[in-house]
């Protein structure tokens, strides 16, 4: 990759990608795809093409979102729409090639919706009646490009936003654009992004720092992994822009060690960006210099909490500290630090290229833009979906994901992971916004959406979530450490059929104390799954009490 300048990047943005006269074959090779057997499929395709002396390229792409249908293979014949095949075996892959060579129709079996059937991509108009329901801003390149090739990212408008920002916008103008867009942090709480960027920028310090939080610890959520694996440069571009705006020279990717492929892809993206002058000294020939390093997590859910994350990036135990001071004032090594979630950063280039107003036009009320969810559990089509905010839970669970996979009706949906809550089936017509979910006693969270059917035991599920938080409590503050353990004991007793009426009252009291007195979000949020289960499904708990059994 040759070094780039702003002018070269801009020129590149005006050139249409050449139309290929050969069939294009893509294999989804993210962690999900590989787990389902994409590697042998890829090898079989390459071997078959070699035997036939064809120099068609088989491309590796990231996650297209249909995780339960992996391995996915997409075939585009010249002048035709792409066709997607699911659960592809090496034998089936050879059949596909044979059809392409013979000019015969592609196999009709194993067809699944293509990305174009599933979603509109940023820049295209929003869905009309009968059109695809998803709208992909964050996942615009996932499953489309080869994440290991920076050229493919550049061909899709990659780094155009960076060039625009560096050559035509002041940091204040960028912040203003974010303000207009209304974009809020996608890590869970939904703090306005422009405010966070502005607060960090205005804080005084020896240096300013930026951290990308890729410590996706919520069990049941993997949006960030898929974006890091499928479109690493999009996250990096957002981070470089962030660095420019807050005046940082250094940034850190903080990524879970459990995500080896995401780490590899980011390492490679950093090397490519350095070689192209998109990172390092005098980026794109300007006087802005910015470097990024990787720091790995080591398996601690509490490190999703900003102050604990900072301790961990510093190489220490991930124990949280009281806020204020907020990281935007005093973060890494005591310096003003901006921590952004992966999905938040992946949105940035599109907001700045297309404008804040464009982004604000998507979504509902104060929840603008889209949100990526990992919809899993008892649902027919488990996978990643990116939807405009304001879509109802029913549209996602039943419309996009096909409803219950088990024949047993859906009982509840859980969002927000171990700090979130249950939403009963009767509330499925609720629009997905930060405010609506909060009103139901849950919250947006990072994007886990777990679907339960009538056979799922919500007393057990409450124990599962609370048990997770008890295990993951760092132990620093008493409300979380002791409160969580005691509450778990009470739940154990109820689950064993030995609980009493008084135990339920005690759980509620303990929950209140933990919410009010815990030091960080882990302890404050830990009672939520239990409380929401009690709120909507109290009879299930009562049925397990000693008196209830008599």
């Amino acid at each position: 990759m040759a070094r780039l300048t702003v002018a070269e990047l801009e020129a590149r943005g005006r050139v249409e990608a050449p139309v290929s006269d050969r069939p294009k074959i893509k294999v989804g090779m993210s962690t999900c795809g590989k787990a389902a057997g994409a590697e042998p499929v890829f090898v079989a395709l390459e071997a078959d093409l070699r035997e036939r002396s064809l120099d068609w390229r088989v491309a590796r792409t990231g996650c297209a979102g249909m995780c339960s249908m992996e391995p996915l293979v997409e075939v585009t014949l010249p002048g035709q729409a792409a066709v997607m095949f699911g659960e592809v075996t090496p034998e089936f892959a050879r059949r596909i090639v044979a059809a392409c060579v013979d000019g015969a129709p592609l196999p009709t079996e194993n067809r699944v919706p293509s990305i174009a059937d599933l979603a509109r991509i940023a820049g295209e108009p929003l869905a009309t009646e009968g059109g695809p329901k998803q709208y992909r801003i964050v996942m615009r390149n996932c499953g489309v490009i080869d994440p290991d090739e920076i050229d493919e990212y550049l061909d899709r408008g990659g780094y155009q936003a960076l060039a625009k920002v560096l050559s035509t916008m002041t940091p204040e103008q960028v912040i203003e654009e974010l303000k207009v867009s209304g974009v809020r942090g996608r890590g869970g709480a939904g703090f306005p992004a422009w405010l966070k960027w502005n607060l960090t920028r205005e804080s005084k310090g020896e240096e300013h720092l930026i951290v990308c939080n890729g410590d996706e610890g919520d069990p049941g959520a993997y949006m960030d992994r898929s974006v890091l694996e499928g479109d690493p440069h999009a996250v990096l571009e957002g981070m470089i822009i962030g660095g420019y705006v807050i005046g940082a020279r250094n940034g850190f990717f903080y990524i879970r060690a459990e995500y080896p492929l995401a780490i590899q892809r980011i390492e490679k993206a950093l090397r490519q960006a350095r070689a192209a002058d998109l990172l390092g000294n005098n980026i794109l020939g300007t006087d802005f210099s910015f470097n990024v390093e990787i720091r790995l997590g080591a398996g601690a859910f509490v490190c999703g909490e900003e102050t604990a994350l900072i301790a961990s990036v510093e190489g220490k135990r991930g124990t949280p500290s009281p806020r204020p001071p907020y990281p935007s004032v005093k973060g890494l090594w005591g310096q003003p630090t901006m921590i952004n979630n992966v999905e938040s950063l992946a949105n940035m280039s599109q907001i700045l290229l297309r404008g804040g107003e464009w982004f604000a036009g998507i979504g509902m009320g104060k929840s603008t833009g889209t949100k990526v969810f990992a919809v899993t559990g008892k649902v027919k089509h488990a996978g990643l979906v990116e939807i405009p905010m304001g879509m109802t839970l029913r549209d996602v669970v039943e419309g996009i994901c096909g409803g219950s996979a088990t024949g047993s009706p859906i009982k509840a949906v859980q969002t927000g992971g171990p700090s979130g809550g249950l939403i009963p089936a009767r509330e499925l017509d609720t629009p997905i916004t930060y405010e609506h979910l909060q009103k139901l006693g849950s919250y947006m969270g990072s994007g886990g959406m777990i679907v339960m059917d009538e056979t799922d035991d919500l007393v057990e599920l409450s124990r599962f979530y609370l048990g997770f938080c008890v295990d993951e409590s760092c132990g620093k503050c008493a409300p979380c450490r002791i409160g969580g353990t005691q509450m778990l004991r009470l739940l154990d007793r109820i689950a064993a059929g030995k609980g009493s009426e008084a135990d339920i009252a005690t759980i509620r009291r303990l929950a209140h104390a933990m919410q009010k007195a815990s030091l960080c979000g882990l302890g404050q949020g830990a009672p939520n799954p239990v409380l929401s289960a009690l709120r909507y499904f109290e009879p299930e708990f009562r049925g397990r009490l000693t008196s209830g059994r008599n």
């Binding site: 992996e70 993997y222 080591a298």
Partner: protein, 161 residues
């Protein structure tokens, strides 16, 4: 300390990370990648070379679930207990593995062949339930498909287990 080979490896890791800020966890990852766990001698040697007190190193090692202080055995069987896997039967798979290997989660078999552990979400929830065996990820696991991965590797070879 007589393990000179160890010393060389540790020295390389210490050198790479010594003057970088916030690098202790990265250096410890380096040790675990190299040995499969963090041996005490290696931790001591790293501490000396990076000027980090051993107490600080263990403070970090014992905080994070990812670090192992004992050799894990040749085959690490990790049952994912993320919410999606939990709902789709991971607890049963864990019981099965535990029973067939004769160890509890977090333990290693006496012959050092197997280590059984629970992991918190490997991020493949669409393919739940998921089990990993060393680096290999098994998708949509059933009791039957897990079975062969719990067999002694040498069990069929001239009677040696």
């Amino acid at each position: 300390m007589t393990l000179t080979k160890t010393d060389e490896d540790v020295a390389a890791i210490a050198k790479r990370w010594k003057n970088k800020r916030g690098s202790l966890i990265m250096a410890l990852h380096g040790l675990q990648d190299r040995y499969g766990y963090v041996p005490r001698e290696a931790a001591m040697s790293l501490g000396e070379q990076m000027d980090v007190p051993l107490a600080r190193i263990y403070e970090v090692l014992t905080f994070y679930n990812y670090f192992r202080l004992k050799s894990p055995g040749k085959k690490v069987v990790s049952v994912c207990m993320g919410t999606a896997c939990y709902l789709k039967g991971a607890p049963k798979l864990l019981d099965q593995a535990s029973e067939e290997l004769g160890i509890r989660p977090g333990e290693t078999t006496a012959d050092g062949e197997f280590h059984l552990q629970v992991v918190r979400c490997v991020g493949c929830c669409g393919l739940a339930p998921v089990v990993t065996v060393n680096e290999k990820l098994l998708a949509k696991v059933t009791g039957e498909s897990l079975e062969p991965h719990l067999l002694q590797p040498g069990a069929t070879e001239d009677g040696k287990a």
